[in-house]
């Protein structure tokens, strides 16, 4: 991946697409400081993100999900989402041990917020089910709810639609709309063209580590360079 740069505007759903091996995941990991870039930097609201330790990123408002979901298997859905709120809560070891009143209050608030977020992504009735027992499609939505628990300003989704059937993809799209309407900016790395064209306000196309196009879905759909990248050189000529 070399000198890829693009901007993400507040309240927007931005998609990043590109054939396999185009560097989407690497870009994603660099944006969330899980990987270090050789050069260049990731700015968020003006301040430098690249150097930070990964667990501090979410405190500056960037939350993420993973290509293969990293859920807490033997914790219930609610507990997973409550864990997501770690960055925005304060109860420490000793305060919790003594069950100080404010920690009990904070617990109550976090539990309610978690229930709300679960409903937001449509997992209302799975609240007390351990993550391990949840079907694949719903686990992705759970991870999104968990990421939201950190009240991020930008939500980065790593192929959220992978492995989802039609109904689950629709549910995902509706959830994304609800999240964006609440004012959270979303950057989604995705293969599912149907979903991308449907939900995104703007699309960035990567190929072999370079940005080859950026713009609204309508333009990107017809851009020959993009088609060539996707369908490989020869087929493009026959079109």
């Amino acid at each position: 991946m070399d000198d890829v740069s693009f901007d993400v505007h507040d309240g927007q759903i931005k998609a990043v697409i590109g054939p396999n091996g185009a560097g989407k995941s690497t870009l994603f990991n660099v944006m969330t400081a899980f990987d270090r870039p050789d050069a260049g930097s990731v700015l968020f609201d003006g301040d430098e993100v690249t150097g930070k330790r990964p667990h501090l990123i979410v405190r500056s408002g960037i939350a993420r999900t993973f290509q293969n979901t990293q859920l807490f298997e033997d914790m219930t859905a609610r507990e997973n989402v409550m864990a997501g709120a770690h960055a925005v809560t304060k109860a420490g070891f000793f305060a919790s041990a003594l069950r100080l009143p404010w920690t009990v209050q904070e617990e109550r608030d976090v539990a309610e917020e978690a229930a709300r977020l679960l409903r937001l992504v449509g997992l209302g009735e799975w609240t007390n089910t351990p993550a391990a027992d949840m079907p694949h499609g719903l686990r992705r939505l759970l991870e999104i709810a968990r990421a939201l628990a950190a009240r991020p300003r930008v939500l980065l989704l790593d192929e959220p639609a992978a492995g989802l059937n039609m109904a689950e993809t629709v549910a995902l799209a509706e959830a994304l709309y609800r999240i964006r309407d609440e004012g959270t900016t979303i950057v989604v790395v995705e293969h599912d063209m149907g979903l991308v064209m449907e939900v995104s306000d703007e699309i960035v196309v990567l190929d072999r580590g370079r940005k080859i196009a950026e713009g609204p879905p309508r333009l990107i759909q017809k851009d020959p360079v993009v088609i060539a990248a996707y369908l490989g050189e020869e087929e493009a000529d026959e079109l």
């Binding site: 995941s25 990991n29 899980f34 990987d35 993973f66």
Partner: protein, 293 residues
């Protein structure tokens, strides 16, 4: 510190190292097959000596045959233990297997005490109690047997791993059990075989050492720890690394006696081992596994 003395320390380190290496090989085998650490490996070392003494003194078999019987029976014990206690654990959870082997080591050492009594037992040397001198330094001939048997074990294991279908199956299982199952390998059988081989290797070490140090029902744990440390020092999973780890540990102990003091030899060897671990968290020869995001 003359050259002869230095060589003498080195030979002693090599001899102890060969013992730790054989036991470490047993750890590596079980690790490769199950990913778990077999805490009963020390007991297999003990049983190798005890059962050989029983075959020699009890059954009156000539020494070589008694040794063979001792090692074979220990391998059998290893197999039966795996079948009865490890295999029923369907999910193959690492920690559960480790704790099962902890329970197994208690049962095996207590059974040995009940069967053979609490007192130590001896075996005559394989050939002669004589010694051989190498540039002035001296090595018991029995020690040559230990070094010889260790080399033999390593070569046999290398041959098994690389030149036999069983060996390939074992390596396949070590890499990915499910994939191995897909190509018709039964991982459960491989685990049983690995336990039997590990038991045989531990028993071999016990048998080779008994003429020098005798054996008793409780010699397992102390040598077991050394074998585990050697396997970790070298890097888990790779037989050659286990042997190297054993030799390095033996040398470390011998040299710390030579240059510092015998009182702290174990502590010094462990401090160095921890230093290696903190510097290379997967052992000297272990391949580092970066977790893919």
């Amino acid at each position: 510190m003359g050259a002869v003395e230095l060589l003498q320390f080195a030979l002693a380190g090599l001899k102890n190292g060969a013992i730790y290496a054989l036991v470490a090989l047993g750890f590596t085998l079980v690790y490769a097959a199950t990913g778990a650490i077999n805490f009963a490996q020390g007991e297999f070392y003990m049983l190798g000596g005890m059962l050989s003494v029983w075959a020699y003194a009890g059954l009156g078999l000539p020494l070589p045959l008694a040794g063979l019987v001792g090692v074979a029976m220990t391998a059998l014990v290893g197999g039966v233990f795996e079948l009865l206690a490890v295999r029923p654990r369907k999910d193959g959870d690492l920690l559960a297997i480790i704790i099962i082997t902890v329970g197994g080591s208690m049962v095996l050492s207590s059974a040995a005490r009940h069967l053979f009594g609490p007192l130590e037992k001896a075996l005559p040397a394989f050939t002669s109690t004589g010694t051989v001198s190498i540039f002035g330094a001296v090595l018991e001939i029995q020690s040559l047997w230990i070094l010889g048997l260790t080399t033999l074990a390593v070569v046999a294991l290398w041959y098994l791993y690389n030149r036999t279908s069983l060996g390939r199956a074992m390596r396949a299982c070590a890499v990915n059990r499910d994939a191995a199952r897909l190509v018709g390998i039964d991982p459960r059988r491989i685990v049983t075989v690995s336990f039997m081989l590990a038991a045989a290797l531990g028993a071999l070490a016990g048998l080779a050492v008994t003429p020098l140090t005798q054996t008793a029902f409780d010699v397992g744990p102390s040598v077991g720890i050394k074998g585990f440390a050697a396997a970790i020092l070298g890097g888990l999973g790779n037989p050659i690394a286990a042997v190297a780890g054993g030799i390095v540990l033996g040398m470390l102990e011998s040299m710390s006696i030579a240059f510092i003091s015998s009182t702290y030899k174990d502590a010094i060897a462990l401090v160095v081992l921890l230093g290696v671990l903190f510097w290379r968290p997967q052992g000297i020869f272990g391949a580092s596994r970066r977790e893919k995001v």
